[in-house]
């Protein structure tokens, strides 16, 4: 048993070293020492999944040289007490095993459980102890040894034993979308999912169905994506193939497919879909923006310019119970699981620990 750090904060403010008084994500340097506070949890780390943008920046900077990339990652973690690329600002997530749980931790974890963190590495205290010797530096999957600290308000999910780890990680990566969709969709709703053949889109379609949607309309950009969706029988009722950046074209296609929508879920990482989503949604309806390519001002100005009385939600990646909900959808919806597995094989995800 290690000694606790008093005083502590559920957000980990007590771990912030420099500059003092900011949030862990904003901090330059965190205290990553192994001793846990009463509401903290220590994880024995098995693998980091670096954020794609971060790994790309490192690869470009060091011209793909594995030794230099490895040294750079070690240097960042040693200096900052967390894996936050100072250029991209991004981190990634990790998997590992619960080592010690403080008596006041609200996370419900037990020593020995295999978990994935669903909060970013940018705010997770981290120490690496094996010099990353098992990592070839050639992918963002970093097998390693060391420890990480979870705070009271961290988010971690136990990896289920009945599903392959890469599948679970792929599902957890986007589990906020189906959880918020399920909250918003009412019995009998017409639901439009833009990007329905993608990971967050297909999960959202399945969540809409479970929440009682009367009709689920899926939008995809191409015949190939439509074929993928068509093979996933029952996931959507109607498939619309169109460029989701064209409001007039999308709205009229959605109308013909049984729209406008009561709830529209935007899941494509393509800029310029705000007006289309709004115009395809009925007056009094709701648009949930999950795409990180969403422009706040474009959404606000489009709605005003079209006198559209729609509720517009910023997709929050955190909804209590989101990981369990998403994993359960995959377990109980064979078409969804098949679609995920096809997507993952396309992306060449490794057999273990992959986050495509």
């Amino acid at each position: 048993m290690t000694k606790s750090h008093p005083p502590h904060s559920p957000l980990g403010l007590h771990r912030v070293v420099d500059p003092p008084g900011v949030l862990p994500q904003t901090a330059w340097r965190l205290d990553a020492s192994a001793a846990i506070a009463a509401d903290e949890v220590r994880i024995r780390v098995g693998r980091l999944n670096l954020d794609a943008a971060s790994y790309r920046q490192l690869g470009e900077t060091y011209a793909g040289d594995p030794d230099k990339i490895r040294a750079a990652v070690l240097e960042i973690i040693a200096t900052r007490g967390k894996m936050q690329n100072p250029v991209t600002g991004s981190g990634g997530m990790l998997t590992g095993t619960v080592e010690e749980v403080g008596p006041d931790s609200p996370l419900g974890l037990k020593p020995g459980q295999r978990i994935a963190t669903l909060v970013s590495l940018t705010l997770t205290p981290l120490v690496i102890t094996d010099s990353l010797y098992r990592w070839d530096g050639r992918s963002e999957q970093v097998p390693c040894e060391g420890h990480a600290i979870l705070f009271a308000r961290s988010i971690a999910a136990v990896l289920p034993e009945d599903l392959p780890v890469p599948l679970s990680l792929a599902v957890m990566d986007v589990c906020g979308a189906p959880a918020l969709t399920e909250r918003v969709v009412r019995d009998g709703s017409v639901v439009l999912v833009i990007g329905a053949a993608g990971k967050s889109g297909s999960l959202s379609a399945a969540a809409a169905r479970r929440a009682g949607a009367a009709k689920v309309i899926g939008v995809v950009p191409s015949q190939a994506e439509a074929a993928l969706l068509r093979a996933s029988a029952g996931l959507v009722d109607e498939i619309v193939i169109t460029d989701a950046r064209n409001p007039v074209a999308l709205a009229s296609a959605v109308q013909a497919a049984g729209g406008p929508a009561d709830v529209t879920v935007v899941c494509v990482d393509v800029a310029g879909c705000e007006g289309s989503a709004i115009l395809s949604t009925t007056q009094g309806g709701t648009v949930i923006f999950f795409s990180m390519a969403t422009s706040f001002s474009s959404a606000a100005l489009s709605a005003e310019g079209m006198a559209a009385d729609v509720t517009m939600l910023v997709g929050n990646g955190y909804v209590p119970g989101h990981a369990d909900l998403a994993l359960d959808l995959v377990r109980t919806t064979p078409a969804l699981r098949a679609l995920f597995e096809r997507r993952m094989s396309e992306c060449g995800v490794a057999a273990e620990g992959g986050q495509p």
Copy 2:
């Protein structure tokens, strides 16, 4: 009586000349001819209020030369059939008198009424007939003659006879904020308004009060703003003076003032307030982002990083009845009217037709 254009669309798609098939706001050129469709309205224009960014760009390009600025505005309107600055992409709004109302118009307007458009000039067909000879080119207030067209889904508000026009325009400019605030706030809520001494912030505070808020906490950045708010007795219950970009400082100050908030309304045009707003809001609460400086990704990632289960709304500038609601708040809340009048005198708004 002029001849109608069949076929027509409530969004004005039939007025789009180039390129065909896009929304009027996206179009390069609109048909601004005077003949109205059955659901359109023609306005006799009295004044344009150019968007501040657009006027600044014109002033800089032509080194403040009034003749050149006037010529540039005339050229834009003649070429595009609307006043949309091709560099900034922005427009502004207009005031005028209703001239002709199509029999199927749902806007409820009558010939002779003085109105202000609450949709942007970027999508409003416009013709200028007086060469702008009455405009000195020295401010964004453009007295003029000509006509403009409103579609079925345009938004226009009748200028009330009991309030000065500049005050009404200033209120209408931000009337979406109090309307959405009133929708979200429940009886007994603790409401936090970030930027409470500003126009949209003070209106939102008054709307929160009317919706039954148990406590309204106003955040301002300086003693001067606090004094302005303190002089507006009853608008807020507690005043917090702090930098709203610091999540830890704001959340602890709000806590001390009776928070966290059930509903937080972000009304300051300062970047980087997303985390502060989220951290100052209780789990299960709602944040309404009205600031155009809001970053979508920062809001989404901050909430996830703090495991904050908050509903985040993109402030929609359009809520049915928003102008009447806001004007009524100003009429019935003397402290609010006084604050608006003080703000307007600081900005040196002209006696007529100003949009500060």
